[in-house]
């Protein structure tokens, strides 16, 4: 009787003006709205032909007469990489020519050693070297022996040119040295340089989903380290600041807002200034807040408070004003006096809208988090983002950013899903209306939905008889 008319699902196309799609399609599209961007990210990350404007070096080489030196892991633009390889090949050609003519180029053992060491990343990637043996030169020379014997490696393969270079170099090393694995017995003749190898990659600011997930998993599972508290502890700290500032703002702002919406006196006295004050951006007060509240969390909570309080007062005042005036008149004809009008009519009457207002303002509070944590002594998740970002460990930054998004989003979704149960008298049903993800994907636990539906009177046998 009062339920919205539902159209049989098979009659509705995908595009119908102001028509709700059937639940299954709604759920599908909601999932797609998350998986779409994720798929796009995967495609850009794992399909090199889409973008990948850079080459990340797996093997590097130094060039004669060029001071800029690269090492494995560095990124070069894709256009420059062939030039880089060519320059190394020119150096190698000169060395080969010197070998044939017998000219002795001036090369020290140290230079040879430095060039030979460029093979270390190959050993590391393939697991032939451990972190500890990475600086051990005889272990490094054993890698050359391995490569000379034709081992190309599994995870990082040596190119054919580099295998030949390895063989040539190893020949020279073994002909002069009694113990080829002793770095002090390296030949003084120049040895060939490994040619640079690389993989096409995206810029450093766009790590692959795999890297992000691995880094996130590692960061969240490792306990507190020398770099500061563990991420879980940081998260709790950040949430303390957001909810602390927000609850403080709500505790003070809601009563003031209701007073403003109820009495013109308070509205005229308070709202103009509040309206003016909210245009002063909260971050502008940061140094001031630090001066007032000193270090630790107090200035941060104060910043979240300043950022939300003034908006909250105005929003709540409008909500209080929005209550149907005829309800107040009806209450007056029933004998309600001033305090009763406020406490028995206005306050209960606006609760559902107030609840929604607070949900929106909690979202505002989250947006102030990062700035709040930057002021004074950096702390919480933001400090982690800052530090890792400065080291260009962006694959460790992304999980934290996404985490903040998730916490805010899910808090809001849970609050939205709870609303019909908190305010049953509004007649809102779970899974009805534009409540977003929680309701369209999950549609609320089925048993709860049923309980509510059966509580309705249009399903009441007595009602149907009438």
């Amino acid at each position: 009787m009062f339920r919205r008319k539902t159209v049989p699902p098979d009659r509705v196309g995908w595009f119908a003006v102001r028509r709700e799609l059937p639940p299954r399609r709604r759920a599908l599209l909601t999932l797609l709205s998350f998986f779409g961007p994720l798929l796009l990210w995967c495609a850009v990350s794992y399909l090199p032909f889409i973008w990948h404007p850079e080459v990340q070096l797996t093997l590097a080489a130094d060039r004669d007469g060029v001071t800029t030196s690269y090492s494995a892991g560095d990124r070069l633009s894709r256009d420059y990489f062939p030039e880089y390889v060519r320059q190394v090949m020119v150096d190698n050609a000169a060395i080969r020519a010197a070998h044939e003519t017998g000219d002795s180029l001036e090369v020290t053992r140290r230079t040879n050693l430095r060039n030979l060491r460029q093979i270390v990343p190959w050993g590391m990637t393939n697991g032939y070297l451990t972190q500890e043996s990475a600086s051990d030169d005889s272990a490094m020379l054993r890698l050359w022996a391995r490569a000379a014997q034709g081992d190309t490696g599994k995870r990082l393969r040596l190119s054919r040119e580099n295998r030949e270079i390895a063989a040539t170099n190893w020949d020279m090393i073994t002909t002069t040295a009694t113990d080829p694995f002793d770095p002090r017995q390296l030949p003084t003749q120049p040895l060939l340089k490994l040619l640079p190898q690389g993989e096409r990659s995206n810029p450093v600011y766009l790590p692959t989903p795999g890297d992000v997930i691995r880094a996130g998993w590692r960061d969240f599972t490792t306990p507190a380290s020398a770099g500061g508290p563990a991420l879980g502890e940081r998260l709790r700290h950040s949430m303390r600041i957001v909810f602390g500032g927000f609850l403080l703002a709500a505790l003070i702002g809601v009563p003031i807002g209701i007073l403003c919406g109820t009495f013109d006196f308070f509205s005229r006295l308070i709202e103009p200034f509040v309206d003016f004050f909210r245009y002063m951006p909260a971050p502008a007060f940061s140094t001031l807040l630090v001066a007032i509240f000193l270090a630790h969390d107090a200035p941060k909570i104060a910043l979240v408070f300043v950022g939300t309080f003034f908006q909250l007062v105005l929003v709540v005042a409008n909500t209080a004003r929005g209550l149907d005036h005829s309800l107040l008149e009806a209450a007056q004809t029933l004998g309600a006096r001033q305090p009763q009008l406020l406490l028995r009519v206005i306050v209960p009457g606006i609760l559902p809208r107030l609840y929604n207002d607070l949900r929106i303002l909690l979202g505002w509070a989250w947006t102030w988090l990062v700035i709040a944590e930057l002021i004074g002594v950096k702390s919480g998740l933001t400090e982690f983002i800052e530090t890792q970002g400065r080291w260009r460990n962006f694959e460790r930054v992304y999980p934290v950013i996404i985490l903040i998004g998730f916490i805010g989003f899910f808090t809001d979704q849970i609050l939205a899903a709870l609303r019909p149960f908190l305010f049953r008298w509004t007649g809102d049903m779970p899974g009805q209306g534009a409540h977003g993800l929680a309701t369209s994907v999950v549609a609320g636990p089925r048993w709860l939905t049923r309980t509510l539906t059966e509580g309705r009177l249009d399903a009441h046998p007595k009602f149907l008889k009438r």
Partner: protein, 300 residues
């Protein structure tokens, strides 16, 4: 020319029983007296006089209808009587005491129900009692009686959004009655209902009126409703709102639905019709119409 078989009696002609009833009615105590009431609003366009020199009396257990063209000040008058607006001149006496501000001694039922949506039916009815400091089992059982009176006992724990329009209006009536007001103001109470619910609500209201000490002032646009329910009908003229006529309805009580076609009923209704829609302009205001059909194609 009207069909001679349908010629109606004068609406002022009353059968002996009806005349005797009105004589008795006017001997009852006066519930509400309105004396030289005037109301002027200030607006950006200047002063607007909404009511001028309104005088009338309502006797105990009378149902008085209040009707007139739209914008004639019916609602303003009722809001002044209820104390939601203050009169610019004149005074309103309720049982001899001047009215100042809204109060529980004058119940009001609005067209838009105005139930508190966050309260169940029972809590809505209890609201007035709680406002006068009464709660607990005694007040609750009293509220139940009023809910029972309007026939909604099965729904006392329902929320307003679960009820139909007619049911909501019955709750509103029960809520107003629970305060046992000296007079009940009803501002087009059934205007938002469909025809069937409206008819049943009218019968229901008469039943309640018979069983409860109730004096009613009822605004209505529906002339049938006015004649069917009211003892006397106050007709207002617009701009400024003033009393055109106070009609004594010549239909005997108890009223029944089949009286709608009795000569006194029709006579009263025709007279009301002529007061509210004067016969001078049969087609309403002049419309700027262009003929879009051939001249010989006349649907009449």
């Amino acid at each position: 020319m009207p069909d001679p078989t349908f010629s109606l009696p004068d609406y002022r002609r009353q059968s002996p029983e009806v005349a005797a009833r009105f004589a008795r009615l006017k001997e009852r105590p006066v519930k509400l007296e309105v004396r030289t009431l005037g109301k002027t609003f200030a607006s950006p366009q200047g002063q607007i006089e909404a009511l001028r020199d309104v005088n009338f009396r309502i006797y105990r257990r009378e149902i008085m209808g209040l009707t007139g063209a739209s914008g004639c000040g019916k609602s303003t008058l009722m809001r002044v009587l209820a104390g939601l607006e203050y009169p610019t001149s004149g005074e309103v006496l309720l049982e001899g005491q001047p009215v100042r501000g809204p109060g529980p001694d004058r119940g009001m039922v609005f067209q838009s129900y105005t139930l508190f949506p966050w309260l169940t039916v029972k809590k809505n009815v209890l609201f007035g009692l709680e406002m006068s400091g009464r709660s607990g089992p005694v007040a609750e059982s009293e509220a139940r009686q009023w809910i029972d009176l309007v026939g909604l006992s099965a729904f006392e724990n329902a929320y307003p959004h679960q009820l139909s329009g007619g049911m909501k209006q019955r709750v509103a009536i029960a809520r107003a009655l629970a305060n046992q007001p000296k007079i009940l103001f009803m501002d087009e109470p059934f205007g938002a209902l469909d025809a069937q619910s409206r008819a049943s609500m009218q019968r229901h209201l008469l039943e309640i009126w018979k069983h409860v000490d109730l004096t009613i002032l009822l605004i209505t646009h529906d002339l049938d409703e006015a004649v069917y329910l009211a003892d006397r009908i106050l007709v207002l003229d617009p701009n400024p709102g003033r009393i055109r006529e106070l009609i004594e309805v010549p239909v005997p009580r108890p009223r029944a639905a089949d009286q709608c076609f009795s000569p006194p009923f029709l006579a009263a209704k025709c007279h009301l019709e002529s007061l509210i829609h004067p016969p001078g302009e049969p087609h309403g205001p002049n419309l700027n119409l262009v003929r879009m059909t051939p001249h010989d194609d006349n649907p009449e």
